[in-house]
Amino acid sequence: MREQITELIYKSFLTLDDLNFSGYIDLCHSSFNYKIGAYSPEIRKQMIWLQESRDSLKLLFENLPKHNSDHSRLSRLGNVYLINQESNGDWSALTFLQVFRTTLDGGASELFAVGKIKDKIREEGGTLKLLDRDIQLETRMFGFGHHIPF
């Protein structure tokens, strides 16, 4: 099971790296919740930067072609640190995330973001699905940024 969970997490990175948004959504449970947050020492507060359901995240992806976006490619590197089974049978996983950005012009790569991902995983229809993804970023500066979440 641990191998399957790790593979699910890595598949979620690969699908987003490949801009395969429907592939990513297919990995998500029907009750999927997605969140990106960061702690700001400047205002002494935990911040929420993005919070989506499966449906709203799907819409976010579908709307992307209507927007002006940086087209640099993002590459996600994860190290799954911990996997535990919860009392209700769900699984939780803690993954260290690094995101690299590679420019289209010349292909220079740079570290774009680091953080940790807390996932909850549940079996749905005989398949493991992402139930909750909570990304806590250490990085809080992204230059001109990016439209595609991690």
């Binding site: 507060k45 940086d70 979440p149």
Partner: protein, 402 residues
């Protein structure tokens, strides 16, 4: 027909108030002059009062004029600002962006100061300086500080500066009621972009660039009332833009905002630009505050704050945060587009690219796509710099009758 090299550098067929020489965005000597004549003479937002909740709480701030500052709340609850520079060997006094310091102590030699800028102790002072130099000589340099216009902490490096009230004048009147209640910062992040600070402020001073934002086209530009929004210019280079009702549900995935703002019409949106680089942007449920802090002619830090009402219920605050993030968060629909825009300008205008002019020539009776907001800014810029923005280095010749 495309242009030859000679045609490319000809002045645009507008009055000289309607275009600028792009060297004002790239020239190092002009930037140094701006720091001296503009930033060190203007009131600048350093932080919000809620970032200093208790006595001895401090924030550090890199002032765009160059000086590093400490903003600190004293035991008497008064907020004061000082250079973050030890008078001994010039060390940074407080390293962290935020903290609590009853005694501001330099890590180098343990010199100690209170939150009023008084020197409390010079380590082994008597032994080393005898009576030649005492704590009386070693106070911190204080910077004028006022709180106002939504609880923001404003600083001015110039000891002889006019009051904040006189500096702002009537420019904040459109938000007087909306900012009269206690606010709270719920979002803060910075972005560093290779661009000039004026280009960011320009983007906040013109709405013609709504063509860049699909969200704004859908929810604003094609909606009734959009082209009625008007610019108003005020003394000292400030400007405001009137409101309209934004149709948030015209964008797939967005919905009509259920939380509003006291004193603002449902769906309303008021924007006020404060010279030289701050913008109050109240969009229905959220106040966004931008502070542009240039690091050089083509390097800019922008501080972004999102604010709600201190009296918010958890549910209201959650709504405001969601509304903020949808367009203005680090992954929001609009912010990335705006940053991408000024990044592209910085890339195209950097020294040596032969970028020559930037045009601010649209005239539409001061309505939303008129470029009068930028023209108003550059009139003030030219006055403060004592040089016209269309000919900042005195070597341009007008090609056509302007």
């Amino acid at each position: 027909m495309s242009k030859s090299a000679k045609e490319w550098i000809q002045t645009p067929p507008f009055p000289t108030s309607h275009f600028v020489d792009s060297r004002i965005y790239t020239d190092e000597s002009l930037f140094k002059e701006e720091q001296e004549k503009i930033f060190n003479k203007s009131w600048i937002i350093a932080c919000h009062e809620t970032e200093l909740p208790g006595a001895y709480d401090y924030r550090t701030f890199s002032h765009p004029g160059g000086a590093p500052l400490i903003i600190v709340k004293g035991e008497d609850q008064k907020i004061r600002s000082f250079y973050n520079i030890c008078p001994h060997r010039g060390n940074t006094l407080l390293y962290d962006p935020v903290g609590n310091a009853k005694r501001i102590t330099c890590i180098f030699h343990n010199w100690m100061f209170d939150t009023k800028g008084n020197c409390l102790e010079i380590s082994r002072g008597k032994q080393g300086y005898q009576d030649r130099y005492t704590c009386e000589d070693a106070s911190l340099r204080e910077v004028k500080t006022e709180i106002g216009y939504g609880g923001f902490v404003w600083v001015n490096i110039d000891d002889d500066a006019m009051s904040l009230k006189d500096y702002i004048g009537d420019s904040m009147n459109m938000l007087e009621e909306q900012l009269s209640m206690p606010l709270e910062v719920f979002h803060y992040h910075k972005a560093i972009v290779d661009t000039n600070y004026k280009l960011w402020h320009d983007t906040n001073s013109e709405f013609y660039h709504d063509y860049m934002h699909y969200f704004n086209r859908a929810t604003g530009m094609i909606q009734p009332g959009y082209f009625d929004r008007k610019y108003t210019g005020y003394p000292n280079g400030h400007a405001s833009v009137g409101s309209m009702e934004i149709k948030y549900d015209a964008y797939a995935g967005s919905k009509a905002r259920s939380v509003g703002w006291p004193g603002l019409a449902p769906g309303g949106w008021v924007l006020i630009d404060i010279f030289p680089g701050m913008t109050f942007n109240l969009r229905t449920s959220v106040l966004r505050m931008d502070t542009a802090i240039p690091l050089g002619p083509n390097k800019l830090v922008i501080e972004f704050r999102g604010l709600g009402l201190k009296s918010d219920t958890p549910e209201q605050r959650a709504e405001r945060i969601r509304d903020h993030n949808f367009i203005w968060g680090p992954f929001g629909r609009n912010l990335h587009e705006d940053l991408l825009g000024v990044h592209g300008q910085g890339r195209a205008m950097r020294e040596g690219t032969d970028s020559k002019w930037v045009i601010h020539g649209r005239e539409e009776n001061s309505t939303i796509h008129d470029e009068v907001g930028m023209r108003h800014f550059y009139a003030e810029w030219s006055k403060k710099m004592n040089r016209p923005a269309f000919n900042p280095l005195g070597d341009n010749k007008l090609s056509k009758a302007a």
